[in-house]
């Protein structure tokens, strides 16, 4: 190390030898442990979840397929919003574009599904490139511009009937498939989706810990400093945006073939907002948090729906959970933001570690900090 020759003081008695540093592979292993653990968890899931589904009245595997799809798009949104700090309330647009691309290519042009989904990614990326100029905006402006973007895409999906079929939607979309094999069983779909999702998760968790990920996080924390450190801020933002669009497209493509029927109303602003909710509840700047958020938001209604069956007779209002689902989600979001702005996963980790840092009572008048 060339470091400290010449200087007048070397205070810490540093030797010239190689400094004590933690071997890199330790960190790699630890990160991968989580990934490997999760992969195993998913792979064995049907084994215990299928027998459990019936007594619990919660269709675990069936719901997990969708969780996988949402996890993919939520992770993409988290890269953009949690890591790079760029709010998007229009992520549903890319999801919709991806879904329609693959659905139309496979039903009208006759593409095989395994070709349709990559095309969905490409088209979503193309839209990402076209819409990237909104990234010039910041904060609230960006939020509203992306919201508007979502509305525009929704209206065009609905109105361009010659292409999209309008409100009639696209139906009889083929099942998911790999070359020469169509996947029709729930379990098959579960594995298909989750293998893709785990690959995406693995790639994304690598990415956030790499040069690119650091640049993203840096520009989130201070654009000026990041720029001054040689990070081409607008280029990085743009790429993250396109990447998140691509993941939206991928998830949309998978979604179309899972649902096999899509119409524009499935891709309205509400979808974008619930995606944001997933990211926020799961935790910004946390790849795994997004999976958790997607899981929570998707399973919560199922859980409440199952309650009557566990408890026998329940009051009517409990049975009509979906009527006030919004109230519960709204309260969860608000409480999360007030008490655990870093999301539930991180908030819980902090609580478990008895670290009060992120849990200062925000209602207190004076913050002596």
């Amino acid at each position: 190390m060339i470091a400290s020759n010449g200087g007048s003081g070397k205070k810490r008695g540093g030797s010239y030898g190689s400094p004590p540093r933690r071997p890199d592979w330790m960190g790699m292993l630890r990160r991968n442990a989580l990934l490997l653990g999760f992969t195993v968890f998913i792979m064995v899931m049907p084994a215990w979840a299928v027998p459990l589904s019936k007594p619990l009245s919660i269709p675990i595997i069936l719901t997990m397929r969708l969780v996988g799809v949402y996890a993919i798009v939520a992770v993409g949104l988290n890269l953009l919003m949690g890591y790079a700090g760029q709010v998007s309330l229009g992520q549903g647009a890319f999801f919709g574009i991806g879904a329609y691309t693959s659905a139309l290519l496979t039903t009208k042009v006759g593409f095989p599904v395994w070709l349709g989904i990559p095309c969905a990614i490409l088209v979503a990326m193309l839209f990402g490139v076209l819409l990237a100029p909104v990234l010039r905006l910041k904060g609230h402006y960006l939020a509203m511009a992306t919201l508007a973007m979502g509305i525009v895409v929704f209206v065009f999906l609905r109105e361009m009937t010659w292409l999209t079929g309008g409100n009639d939607g696209v139906r009889n979309i083929p099942h998911l498939s790999v070359p020469f094999l169509e996947i029709t069983s729930t379990r098959g779909e579960f594995y298909y989706v989750w293998i893709v999702a785990i690959i995406v998760l693995a790639l994304c968790s690598r990415l956030v810990d790499s040069r690119v990920g650091r640049a993203m996080r840096a520009l989130h924390q201070s654009e000026v400093a990041a720029e001054a450190m040689g990070v081409p801020v607008s280029a990085v933002k743009k790429r993250v945006f396109i990447l998140s669009a691509a993941l939206g497209g991928l998830a949309g493509g998978l979604f179309a073939h899972l649902q096999r029927f899509i119409d524009p109303n499935q891709f309205s602003i509400l979808l974008s907002i619930s995606l944001v909710t997933m990211v926020v509840i799961g935790g910004m700047e946390s790849v795994w948090g997004s999976v958790f958020g997607a899981g929570l938001i998707t399973f919560l209604p199922k859980l409440v729906e199952a309650l009557p069956r566990w408890l026998g007779e329940v009051p009517d209002w409990l049975e009509r959970y979906s009527n006030y689902e919004g109230m519960i989600l709204g309260v969860i979001i608000m409480l999360t933001m007030v008490f655990m702005p870093s999301g539930i996963t991180k908030g819980m980790v902090d609580l478990v570690r008895w670290r009060r840092s992120s849990f200062v009572n925000p209602f207190r008048r004076k913050a002596v900090d």
């Binding site: 905006l137 508007a148 910004m284 709204g330």
Partner: protein, 297 residues
């Protein structure tokens, strides 16, 4: 040409909608000025205004002159509660957190609205029924109320901000929050007032937007109101007037043109505000008047 012949009607309709947008947009601006956040739940205040007026006037049978102030006051209380319970604790948080928190509030309010008022629409009593024929256009009598009340509200807000102590203090907070606290203004209290005022304006927009109100009107009006605020220059309280009128007119003239002249589907009407919003944000973020603030790094 038919289109030109229809223009007076389009303009009258555009003005009527524009007035509503102005009220919503002013709410956005007032809150933005005093707290620096965009309240995504602003549209839901309109919902509360309209539906509370329905409940008070139509269900409980209160006379309108009593029901309307009560509805406005209740909406203002909801606004105050939101500020105390959500915005105040987040006063030190970043934009992202604030955005998401107000989105949460908006989801909550909308859902609450649906539980309390589950039907697809309610008829809010009109102040005066009937209509007036003008050359080339027919407008409802309610339109006169909308127009009059909007002018009244804009004037009242103008007077409030320029000629009352509390109003000047709120302006002072938006100009220079630091100096405001130095002269003894309780800045957090002003944030509360701004929410009260914005909620009341939103409520007014919701209830004069009669005769129909529903739980789902929030997003619709919220987006339009925000677009108006941006078009007029965000943070510029009276830019909202320009913005609202521009958006209101464009929204009626463009589909009119599309259908009557080009014969294209008017379903695209929904996209007018959204496209205008993106265009203004990208091309002229300070608003078409150019006096608004542009968010700093």
């Amino acid at each position: 040409m038919d289109f030109l012949g229809n223009c007076p009607q389009y303009i009258a309709n555009g003005l009527a909608n524009g007035c509503i947008y102005i009220l919503v947009a002013m709410g956005f601006n007032i809150v933005f000025n005093s707290t620096g956040i965009i309240n995504f739940a602003q549209g839901e205040f309109c919902m509360f205004g309209g539906l509370l007026a329905y409940t008070l006037a139509a269900s409980l049978g209160l006379p309108l002159p009593l029901a309307i102030p009560l509805a406005l006051a209740s909406t203002a209380i909801i606004g105050a509660a939101m500020e105390r319970l959500l915005v105040y604790p987040l006063r030190r948080a970043g934009a992202l957190v604030a955005i998401i928190a107000t989105i949460g509030a908006s989801i909550f309010f909308k859902s609450l609205g649906r539980v309390l008022w589950p039907k697809e629409a309610y008829k809010v009593p009109e102040f005066t029924a009937g209509n007036i024929s003008l050359p080339g256009a027919t407008v409802s009598r309610q339109f006169l109320w909308v127009f009059g009340l909007t002018i009244l509200s804009v004037t009242a807000v103008y007077l409030f901000f320029n000629h009352t102590k509390a109003g000047k203090a709120m302006r002072a907070c938006s100009v220079n929050r630091f100096a405001a606290s130095l002269v003894g203004i309780n800045v957090m209290r002003m944030s509360l007032y701004s929410f009260v005022l914005a909620a009341a304006l939103g409520g007014l927009a919701g209830l004069i937007n009669a005769p129909y109100a529903s739980y789902s009107m929030g997003l619709f009006l919220g987006v339009k109101g925000f677009t108006s605020a941006v078009v007029g220059g965000l943070g510029n309280t009276f830019g909202a007037v320009t913005g609202g009128i521009v958006l209101g007119l464009l929204e009626e003239l463009i589909p009119g043109f599309l259908t009557v002249v080009l014969g294209v589907s008017t379903g695209y009407k929904d996209a007018v505000a959204a496209i205008l919003l993106i265009a203004v944000l990208l091309l002229r973020p300070q608003g078409i008047l150019g006096r608004g603030v542009v968010e700093k790094v």
